[in-house]
Each structure stands twice: as C-alpha cells, then as structure tokens.
C-alpha cells in the first residue's frame, strides 16, 4: 500500500516543516510581487489564499485555471543586437532536436552551437541550479515550469523578439494556461498519450472497445509483449482514466492507491513491462501492445519500421477530446545565458514554419503546434500513413476542457512517486 506522506515518520523534520509551509502558501493568480519577496529559492512566501500551491508557492495551473507567472526580473529591452561569437548551448533531451538545424543557426549567427543532453527535465533543472551546466536555452515542460520560475532558473521573455509565436503557433498555446502571456516559455512539440499496438499481432479491435484502456487487463494472450510507459504520471494516470476518473492531477491517496492496485494486477495478467522504447519496440515487433505518446508512432513509422513491414502493421488509439491526456514541451531561456538576445532569436527560429516542420519530419517525429500542420495534409504528403492520422493533434485538443498532467504540490509529487515505486517493486498483487 502506498503511504500517505502524512503517515511518514519524518513528518516532524525540518523538511516537513518547509513542505507544510509550501502547502499553506497562497495561490495568487499572477501576483507580481510573489517572487520579489523570495530572497532565495528555499524561501516560501506566506499567503492567505488557502489553495494548494506548487514549488515556491506558485499557483498550480490547470487547463481551466490559467496562471500568469510573476516575472522575477524584467525581460531584456527590445531592439538589441544579437550577441555573436563563442558557444551557444542548448540543453535538452538527447536526440530531440535536429542537429543540422542547430548548425545552420550557429552559422547564421556566428556561434558554435553545443547540444548538452539531460536525462529528464527535473534532473536537468537540478544540474542547472547547481551550476554544473550553464546553457543558454533549455527544454522545459509545463509541469516543471514552476520549479524553473521559482528557482529563478529561467528568464522572462520579451516577445518582441519572437514574432513567430503569434504568427505560426496554435492560439491555445500562444497564451497557454500554464504560462499566461507566454512570459517564460514558447511551445516546442505536442503529443497525446494513447495506445500503440501491432495490428498484425493483436486480435482485438481496441478502438472499438467500450474502454480501450481495458485491453491491458485483457492481454493474457500477449504476455511478455505488453508494456506501459516508465513514467509515474502516465502509468497511474492511465489507471485512473480506465476507471473513469478524469482528475489526473488528483492528490487523493485513496485514488492513487486504488490505481496502483489496479496496475499491480497486470503482473499476473500479462507480465507487464515498463519502458519508454515504444517508438522502436512496437515497429520492430518486440512489443505488441504499448502505452505510447502519439509522436512515437510517427517517429516509429519514419525511422524504425523494418523494410517489408507495411505501415498498416502499426495502429494507434487515443481517447476523444476531453478524455485524452495531452501535453506539450516548451523552450525557455536559462538565467545562465550570456547571450539573451540570441537566445530569444533561437526561440523564434524554433517556431519558424520551415524549421519546425523540418525538425518534425526529418528528425524528431514529434509534431510542433504549427497552424499550417493539419492531419490530412500530413497524410497527403505521405509524412504520416493514413492509419496513423489520429496520432496528429490539432489546436482544439488543447482547450480548457483538455486533460493535462499539471504541477502537483510537493506532497502530491511524493504520493505519485511512492505509488509508482510500489508498482515498480513488483510485490504482491
């Protein structure tokens, strides 16, 4: 059973005191003075809102609860010339940006572009905070944005330098709920979470099932070939959705415990596996049924489908709008940058129609939220096969009624992490 953080023996520690302080901090929408009150990252501002707050006491954004984050410093002035010479460092997941495009950007602005990878965004932010890396720009996600802002690790933007945001990007993400007025971020890629499978091996018509997530609990025949994403939010969130619980940001221990118990049933049903290799294992056929992000199937089709295997062997399902978890990755400027103007230009470069599209179809497989991209055009151009058209998202998928994994309170994060640890331990079911 997952332990509720309140039950922990260490609840009387200094840490517990700080966390309680964070939990009690006010959720002040767009309170501009919030961060100004923080002399360092460990300070937690007091407030009287009574709502749950995330790291640094910043309010928790949800698709139906837009948050404008306070600026901890003024953005750079408009009209400055970009810096040249030296190195420009991009901090991102490994192999998540087309190197050719980076080289071209470097050549255009007379800088050597260096690509520094991180394992995941949390550990990347920790490395940034420790001073182990000093990048100019980095990838960040909406659910880790609070850490970046509260820790003063990313800089406020001056959108005058980023006209492509307004010009090319879906309206829902020009002024997104997690970063109202795009004060700190621009969107990079977007994706949904669904099910990928080998249509030539799986007999069931998954898309036609009353509750397609049930397929994992009915996959005895495919034992050893079934896997879930190796992410605590995704696995537990999927088990919640299967039971019709659409609050995928719940911090109710009973709900999380129940979801973990359900996941543990999968040991005996299909000897469930966990990994994030679905973009490769499903096309190659070593996995037949996998929880997957929509971009995985496009990337899998482009890069990993063996010669002779038809595209029709791949299939993808995602729930209808309002029931499907969707997410987007972002880019932000790090506070360690010595080239703030050039960093703005880089963000603008990423949102250029041609650049973003090239990064998508020639390397990444994860679609950028460009107005000019629509599923039928991609199918017509042969970028995406017809049977995977549903893995392409549109602006409407990101409305206020969409499901998105948001930042949790510290206690919520512990609850989900411990729940996943319980599942990963493989004990009792």
């Amino acid at each position: 059973m997952t332990h509720h953080p309140k039950e922990r023996a260490n609840s009387l520690s200094r840490r517990g005191f700080l966390l309680r302080g964070a939990g009690a901090a006010a959720a002040l929408y767009g309170a501009p003075g919030l961060l100004a009150a923080c002399s360092n990252t460990t300070s937690v501002p007091a407030g009287a809102g009574g709502e749950q707050a995330g790291p640094g006491g910043l309010p928790l954004a949800r698709p139906n609860r837009r948050v404008i984050l306070p600026r901890w410093e003024d953005p750079i002035e408009s009209g400055l010339k970009p810096e040249t010479g030296g190195t420009f460092t991009v901090f991102n997941y490994p192999s998540y940006l087309y190197k050719k495009l980076l080289t071209e950007f470097g050549a255009k602005h007379d800088v050597a572009v260096q690509y520094t990878p991180f394992d995941n965004i949390n550990s990347g932010l920790q490395r940034l905070a420790s001073g182990a890396v000093t990048p100019d720009v980095m990838e960040i996600t909406p659910d880790t944005l609070n850490i970046g802002v509260a820790g003063k690790l990313i800089k406020p933007l001056n959108l005058d330098y980023i006209p492509n945001l307004q010009k090319n990007i879906w309206p829902q993400l020009v002024d997104p709920f997690y970063d109202g007025e795009s004060r700190y971020t621009v969107p990079y890629t977007c994706y949904a979470t669904g099910i990928a499978w080998r249509a030539d091996e799986i007999k069931e018509d998954i898309a036609a099932m009353d509750q397609p997530w049930d397929i994992f609990w009915e996959s005895q025949a495919y034992s050893g070939k079934v896997a879930l994403l190796s992410e605590n939010r995704e696995t537990i969130g999927m088990a919640l959705l299967r039971k019709g619980i659409t609050d995928i940001n719940t911090e109710d221990p009973a709900l999380v415990d129940r979801a973990v118990s359900d996941l543990k049933e999968l040991y005996g049903i299909c000897n469930i596996k966990v990994d994030d290799l679905q973009y490769q294992t499903v096309p190659e056929g070593s996995s037949w049924l996998h929880q997957a992000w929509s971009g995985d199937m496009i990337a899998g089709y482009i890069y990993y489908l063996p010669k002779g295997t038809p595209a029709s062997a791949l299939a993808y399902w995602k729930a209808p709008r309002g029931k499907v978890p969707v997410q987007n990755d972002c880019f932000a400027i790090c506070s360690t940058t010595k080239k703030p103007v050039l960093s703005h230009l880089f963000l603008n470069y990423l949102l250029d129609n041609g650049i973003a599209y090239s990064n998508f179809v020639n390397f990444n497989g994860y679609q950028p939220p460009l107005n000019e991209i629509d599923p039928s055009t991609l199918v017509r151009k042969g970028v995406v096969p017809e049977n995977l058209e549903n893995s392409v998202l549109t602006d409407g998928d990101f409305g206020p009624s969409s499901l998105q994994y948001g930042t949790l309170t510290s206690r919520g994060q512990q609850l989900w992490e411990d729940g996943y640890s319980n599942f990963l331990a493989g004990g009792g079911s």
Binding site: G21, L125, I147, G224, N271
Partner: protein, 300 residues
C-alpha cells in the same frame, strides 16, 4: 627519523585515494540520507553535522523494507537473484579457474586473455548484444531449436527471472574467475602430492586440500561480484523490463532520478551499504581465519 616515515609514506597515495573517493563520497551520501530537501528545486540539502541528522528517511526506508512493506518483495527477490547468480558463477567459474591454473599449461595466458576479453567492451554494450541474441528470432533460439533443445522459440526477453539471472552470471563471472585463478595458481603442488602420498584419492585431495586453500579466492571473488550485483539495476532493465524482476537498485535509481525525494534513494543506499558491510566483515573474518589456516598448512 627519515627511515621512520619513508615506508609509511608509500601508503600515502592509497590513503588519499581512499579518503577522496570513498570516505568523502560516503559521508556525502550519509549527509544526504540524513538531510533534507530543497522544497523548490527538490535538490537534496545535506546535513553535515551529525548532531542535526534527521533519521526519518532511514526509518521510512526500513519500514518499507520490512515484512509487509512495499519493498519487501523486491528486497527478497534481489537477495535470491544474487545468491543464485553467485552459486552459478561458482559452479561455472571454479572449474574454469581450476583448469586454467592446473591443467592449461602453455595455454594459460591465452585462456586468461579470453576470460578478460569481454571486459574490453562496456557492460551495457554486452547486455545490449544479448538483447539481440535473445530475440524470438535470435541466434540463441535458432541454435536451441536446431539442436532440438527447444521445439519452439522461447521468449527470453518477456520479463523472466531466469534471463535476468543468466545476464547477471554472464556479466559478472569474469570478476569471480580471476581471483579464483590467482588463489588456485598459488597453491603449492607439494601439498597435493603429500595428500596423494598419504593415500588420499583425487576427490579427497581436492576436498581436503585444494578447496580449503582456495577459500580466500572463493570469498574474494564472491565479494567482488556480489557487491555490484546488489546495486545492479540496468541488467533487469535491459533484459527484462518487468516490475516482477526489478531489483533494489531499481528503486534507488527511481528516487535519484530527479523526483521530489532523493533522500529516500540516499537512505536506501545507506541501508544497502550497512547490509553489505555485514557481508564484508564476514569476508574479512573468514579471510583472516583462512590465512591463519593456510599458514598452519604451510608450516607443516
């Protein structure tokens, strides 16, 4: 005065090495495990002063590891996997080391090189190579079906314990063979000849002379492979991926992976280290005894 410090000074690099690369990092892990966490960045904030240490995380970890705790099964599984792997390594490795030390003759050097050869390639690469070999249509299944050992391909990578144990054995066995070989090679043949002259059979001579005299090598090799095996997490990840085959190292990896509770990972590391320390103390005691016994045999 000069002579008094000369010889101890030779130990200085080793002492510095030990302090810098073992004692200081270990104290840092202790400071993290008994420390706190930055509530914004979720970075561990070590507490260096033992008087301020917070034992809450350790107590939490011990609760989880205890019977009925969420980690009890993975803890037992880890011990079972390591013990089976160790037994298999000994069963396979001892004859190889014995043959190399005693009967290989001029081929001794070549055999040793062949044993060490796989270590020239990274552990991860070797495991990934096995992933290819163990595929449904991989060479392992092809050979086993060709030789009629299997009638149909076996799904080795479907999340089975046997594959994880096999991979552990494959990955660590060279580290057992080398100290074993060194111990067996050092045994004075005159001891065996004396045993045979006194009427001992080959088996009896092995059981009463060779085996006891190679105890130091067995224990040394066992320690050398069990310590890293207990902390292994990538082997089950690569060749299985099933939660039913995870080891305790996977939990440490999970909590050190940028989440909000790195202190849990550090506390688990400390508990593991304490457990392994018990094994180490047993090893040191045994080695002391074995040296004493060897000395006695040598004196005969």
């Amino acid at each position: 005065m000069y002579h008094r410090w000369l010889w101890p000074a030779f130990a200085l690099p080793g002492v510095l090495w030990l302090v810098l690369l073992f004692i200081v990092p270990f104290y840092a892990v202790l400071g993290v495990a008994l420390g706190t966490v930055d509530p914004v960045l979720f970075q561990p904030v070590p507490i260096w002063n033992p008087l301020d240490w917070n034992v809450g995380w350790l107590s939490e970890v011990l609760t989880r590891l205890g019977p009925g705790g969420i980690w009890f099964d993975v803890e037992v599984r880890t011990i079972v996997y390591v013990l089976i792997s160790l037994a298999l390594c000994l069963l396979i490795g001892y004859p190889v080391a014995y043959y190399t030390a005693r009967h290989a003759g001029r081929w001794k050097g070549l055999i040793l090189i062949l044993i060490i050869l796989p270590l020239w390639i990274s552990y991860m690469m070797r495991m990934l190579a096995w992933v290819n070999l163990l595929q449904l249509n991989g060479w392992v299944n092809s050979v086993l079906m060709f030789t009629h050992v299997l009638s149909q391909p076996r799904d080795w990578l479907g999340g089975s314990a046997s594959t994880v144990i096999f991979a552990l054995v494959y990955g660590y066995i060279p580290y057992l063979i080398l100290p074993l070989f060194a111990a067996l090679d050092r045994i004075d043949r005159s001891h065996l000849e004396a045993a045979r002259d006194l009427g001992a059979s080959r088996w009896s001579a092995f059981r009463t002379v060779t085996l006891p005299l190679s105890k130091i090598g067995i224990l040394g090799g066992a320690v050398l492979i069990t310590l890293p095996m207990f902390g292994d997490y990538y082997t089950p990840n690569i060749v299985s991926g099933s939660p039913k085959t995870t080891m305790i190292g996977n939990q440490i990896d999970l909590y050190f992976h940028g989440g909000p509770q790195p202190t849990i990972g550090a506390a688990l590391t400390i508990v593991m280290a304490a457990f392994l320390l018990v094994l180490m103390l047993y090893y040191l005691r045994s080695i002391h005894r074995a040296q004493h016994e060897t000395g006695a045999v040598g004196a005969l």
